[in-house]
Amino acid sequence: MLDKLRILAGAARYDVSCASSGSSRKSAPGSLGNVAASGICHSWAADGRCISLLKVLFTNYCAYDCAYCLNRRSNDVERAAFTPEELAELTISFYRRNYIEGLFLSSGVLGNPDYTMELLIRTVRLLREVHKFGGYIHLKAIPGADPDLLFEAGTLVDRMSVNLELPSQSSLQLLAPDKSKEQILLPMARIRDWHREHNPEQNRQRLLPSASPSTGPLQPVSRPLAAGNFVPGGQSTQLIIGATPEDDRQILTLSESLYQKMQLKRVYYSAYVPVNHDRRLPELPQPPLLREHRLYQADWLLRFYRFSVDELFENGPPALDTDFDPKIMWALRHPERFPVDVNRADYETLLRVPGLGIISAQRIVRARRVGRLSFDDLIKLGVVMKRARFFIAVPGSTKSDLGLDPDLLRQRLRYGDPLLKPRQMAFTDLPEFRREVRQEAITGQF
């Protein structure tokens, strides 16, 4: 069992999703397990990524031969497979000790997609029906599996995901010849439609408009089910970054359309880690972690800060700035929008100020109802002024911080105050820069 777990957890580690959020369930009286809406991290691995779920492959035997994948058919690696009983029991024994929020189950394709999907369903059925397990379950939909099986799985789990992996059809063709974009998008659309049908409440609350009504062949047969019981946590996907030539704008445009058209809860970005030698793949000295980090930041702007991809890249190259986070990048291109009057600006405008996050913006809106805010008040509210001070007008603001010409502003943002620290250096030398990237590597959380 120890060897199986070592192999099948090791084989699942490149899947970055680990969130246990987006769903919420009270425990049934006297039984085991519930789901906390916020998601809970139970530990952090040596790479600094959060561990929330027991993340394993059911098996790493695989019929496919995707170039980027450790478990591809042509690789000579140790192979193993759980039985549904073993895996259900392991999950319960971990859960009872509060190691995990639940199970994240993916798999290589054993024999054919339907057979694999059936094994996964048997596992989660055991958990739900025999062990009465009420915790979180995230299940991978196996591309190419029968829709009936997908639906059945969806009634048992909190979240489902289909990994797109590569950001374009041509890259997919090159690196994953056994998969097609259709084969991935079709189940995604089905899950969306079933989710829409069975969770009407949740869908009304969504921020983003649902753009495309489902079209003929994608329309699933309506199925009877108690409302709220089909993947209440929605679906997510993963894109590998840096294995193929797509630029940031293309990637984020894809994400935006997945959020809008497929109503995904999350798109995860995974810096490409070379695990195979293959002439179709680039040789990277190390995974593009900074790029991954910037994509997550931009993704946040799409989902929580009401930015669109077109706005972000307007008047600029199709790549995110490496020196600055995407919000600063946008602000530097739009000097006409600043400074923002913190005592008057509406919430959405506050959200666009570099350095102001959702919590800061909410606190400002609340606090200014009972009195006019000064520079010092903002500090007491816990607003971090390091970046914000260049973009807001408030009683007590330093005049010399505002209305700076963009080049000078860049300089100030990069080095702090040049009058205090008069030295020239390349941005990559800057310890703050490195620290930011290393300490904020948001991946699986939330």
């Binding site: 069992m1 120890l2 777990l5 070592r6 957890a9 090791g10 699942a12 580690r13 490149y14 009270k26 425990s27 006297g30 039984s31 085991l32 397990g33 519930n34 906390a36 916020s38 809970i40 991290c41 139970h42 530990s43 952090w44 691995a45 040596a46 790479d47 600094g48 990524r49 561990i51 929330s52 027991l54 993340k55 394993v56 392991l90 024994s93 971990f94 009872r96 000790r97 509060n98 190691y99 810096a271 880690v273 190390q286 995974p287 972690l289 606190r363 609340r366 606090a367 109802r369 009972v370 009195g371 805010l373 010092d376 008040d377 007491k380 509210l381 816990g382 290393r438 300490q439 590597a441």
Partner: protein, 253 residues
Amino acid sequence: MNILRYDGSFYSLICVLVPWLRQRYLPDGIARENARQPLLFAGEETAPASSTDLALACSACDPQVFRLPGVSRETWQNAWHAFLSEAPGIEMAVARYLLLAIEKQGRVDSFMADERVRLIQRLAKKVTFERHRFLGLLRFRSIGDNLYYASIKPDHFILPILAPFFVERFADQRWIIHDRRREMAAVYDLRAWTITERAATDLPAASPKEDSTQKLWQCFFDSIAVRERLNLALQQKFIPKKYWSDLTELPGR
């Protein structure tokens, strides 16, 4: 000098404070009687409002009972959570905060730049943050038939707000959460939970399968890390070293 005395519980603190707050006055000081002992055996002469039931004494009590005008549910929660921080002088800080709440008629928590409000909100946040952290970092081990034990050393007295979460989650298993910094424990027996004082000496031995399950968890923990992305500083930022000794997975190896 008007020094109020209370038995160390939030309930008792509020009981002695309420008459003052209703008159819009603050006492000169508030003293805690003899740490926790009187919680159990208080006579009327030591604490004006003593509670004999620890769970009640440790709970937030119901704000409705005290009918303080202007004290919203949010304000009440903040006061209670800040109190659990056990910060020195917390009693007077709570008193000042509640008095301001009465003056501001329900809007006190919008005055975030006011020192009286800031202090309470900051302490409350620390306490709820630590609670949230332990929702994940607490580790049970099996010590008998359907009986589980966890040891924690939290900075704040979070047992009263931690236990209800595990009551809901692990409703079908008996468990003990032992706060070793305070030598107190939350105990759940499938019907109800309570907080007791307990000595650290009577720990039962682990059950037979416990060792192999722990090994499996350690194996998973090691296997799931991506070596190419090794970042121990980030790991330590999320799990400060002070928590390592109670973690089954042994981080930092």
